[in-house]
Symmetry: C2
Subunit: 412 residues, 2 copies
Amino acid sequence: MTDKEFFKVTSMETALQMTRTFPCVSKEVLPLGQCVGRILSQDIVSKIDLPEFNRATMDGYAVQARSTFGASESMPALFTIVGAIEMGEVPTVSVKAGEAVRIATGGMLPDGADSVVMLEHAQALDDQTLEIFKSTAPLEHVMEIGEDFRRGEKTLLKGSRIRPQEMGVLAALGETHIPVYRKPVVTILSSGDEIVPIDQTPDLSQLRDVNAYTLTGLVQLSGAVPRYLGIARDSFDELHGFLENALAEADVVLISGGSSVGSRDFTIEAIQALADAEILFHGVSISPGKPTILACSKEKAIWGLPGQVTSAMVVLHVMVRPMLERIGGLSEGQIGVGHQVSAVLSRNLASVQGREDYVRVKLVRREDQVYAEPILGKSGLIHTMVKGDGLVRIDMNSEGLNEGTPVSVILF
Amino acid sequence: MTDKEFFKVTSMETALQMTRTFPCVSKEVLPLGQCVGRILSQDIVSKIDLPEFNRATMDGYAVQARSTFGASESMPALFTIVGAIEMGEVPTVSVKAGEAVRIATGGMLPDGADSVVMLEHAQALDDQTLEIFKSTAPLEHVMEIGEDFRRGEKTLLKGSRIRPQEMGVLAALGETHIPVYRKPVVTILSSGDEIVPIDQTPDLSQLRDVNAYTLTGLVQLSGAVPRYLGIARDSFDELHGFLENALAEADVVLISGGSSVGSRDFTIEAIQALADAEILFHGVSISPGKPTILACSKEKAIWGLPGQVTSAMVVLHVMVRPMLERIGGLSEGQIGVGHQVSAVLSRNLASVQGREDYVRVKLVRREDQVYAEPILGKSGLIHTMVKGDGLVRIDMNSEGLNEGTPVSVILF
């Protein structure tokens, strides 16, 4: 056997398919104030009409629209002011033709009124007399009952992310406690005899545990909860023990450096000794990131990641984060949304057919166009990630991309 | 005085200028693991070279590059294997012309070697004999000492956001505790006799406190810490009391509904009664969001926000969030970055000259182009924010934007 046969490389398409086989995490119920960024685990059906009554959306005068027809600056229409409604008041007056009621934004339209004339288009001559300079249409500056959300309507869908505006909707519907998915828990363990904690000064044969921190940050930004377990030496027993602990508390386990040459055999052995374990793939046709392992034990995902931090980051962005979003309950259509922007390639990029290449780029705006500018420098240098804004994918069937090609940039 | 004179409207440019007058928050030192998303409060100068020695970036064989010149599949070069170096080992062998040492990714290059030949381009015939099929260049698959970061170099700059890759750099440099800016604390108080807590069923004259939740979410996504104080009635004493409490613990105060007709006078009076208080503006030339108040007391910002939730959200996105990023220490060049994407307008948009208009849009991808599709529906409806992805700005000097215009979309 030659060294080349070490990997039976799996295509990216097949590999991604395998990442889709893991079940969603369980559900929980949270107070609304804690829900920003979380994923709804049920559809939300409105129990009320919103608004619950015809509501003014401007400060002005409630009138019957037809009484204003033909009004203009040069020929104002005269109205009689018959009252005033503050926001929060139930009107006691009603409005007939030629009558107007002062109304505040959010106020309840009085019976008879069907429109609101803005303050800017009216002038009170005295307490009872109003000039209106502009005609208004029915329902202008009025929000009709149920116009925002109707009783019985599915207002928000299971699997959608709760942004500030969805929090507002839930508040408006009186939903104080929200059914959401738990955040996936991701345990991170580093493997390798050469890895030392970052507060130690490594000797020439050691490396600080850089990846644990990078992965911690990425997992957190992926909407999951990172838990760092520490550094496992390259021994079957130690790694196996770590893995059993990791699986006990996690939905997903990341073994940093677990696919590196020194650790690879121990990683695979230690995984295979777990209950109900299966190696799904070992080696993927992407660059960087080829020596990646995905396994499962009791329906939980175990990733063996490259030791080179930049490779591990690419694998996290293109394979692990989508998986975390998916098992975190996010609907298929929203996965990856918000992590990608469009740009145009600033120069030709060569690539090798038969694998997906991920090239680091910087986003640069020139005039009205955003360009993705490939970053030079060796792929293992972390400063290429610090200088970069994201990744451009080159398809496995492509020999490269030409300058000017529209590309989608996966943001770091 | 007519109602129209109620606002002396400030131009958006002047208003934004005023938001830039507030000082940065104080600093703190955090363990590295908690730093993702935080802003560096000092430059980070590397105390070491990274890497600290010449390091292999691939599994392969360390050689002298010139010994491989001319090697090809049909005419392999023959090498003598003189040893193997595991990652984490200090080499005891050195490499002369025609010699090769098996080396693992991350391994330390032995004396004499200046390049690494990938496993794929070599084949061991026996324990001592190696065929190499491809010539390699000096420093190929080698990371040179200091190539990533040099001792004494400013590796990361004050005011930059700590992403996962910056966490990695800090870990590599052995920085266990990081100088960052505190997260700005933003107290949120709702004002208005008509506002009730969301667990109450409002009668027809009341509204649930929708805005407090929307603002809480937005403040959190802006990198600040929201603190909800509750609902102040429309009385000078109550609002003033709330404000004094709010200022005691906050860097910024948001008065939700504080600029609405019912609350506006109380808001201004209550602010003016604070120590060292000044109203900076009251009314801005944007739509929606015109009736916005900005004041300061003891160098802290106090915002009076429109009661209409969609208007309040626009003000938060275009005025408050950039201010929070700035007082949170983010460098000028990074403010707003990551919240904007480029798109092309899908249809004509009319606008009124003399004010900045913010139009809600949905992002739609067709072929290689992302389109910003204006959302129809009354501006006060929160479902327009739920259906939308972001805001397109129409300049105050513009009468509108034509279909096909490239636009920048501020993401919700």
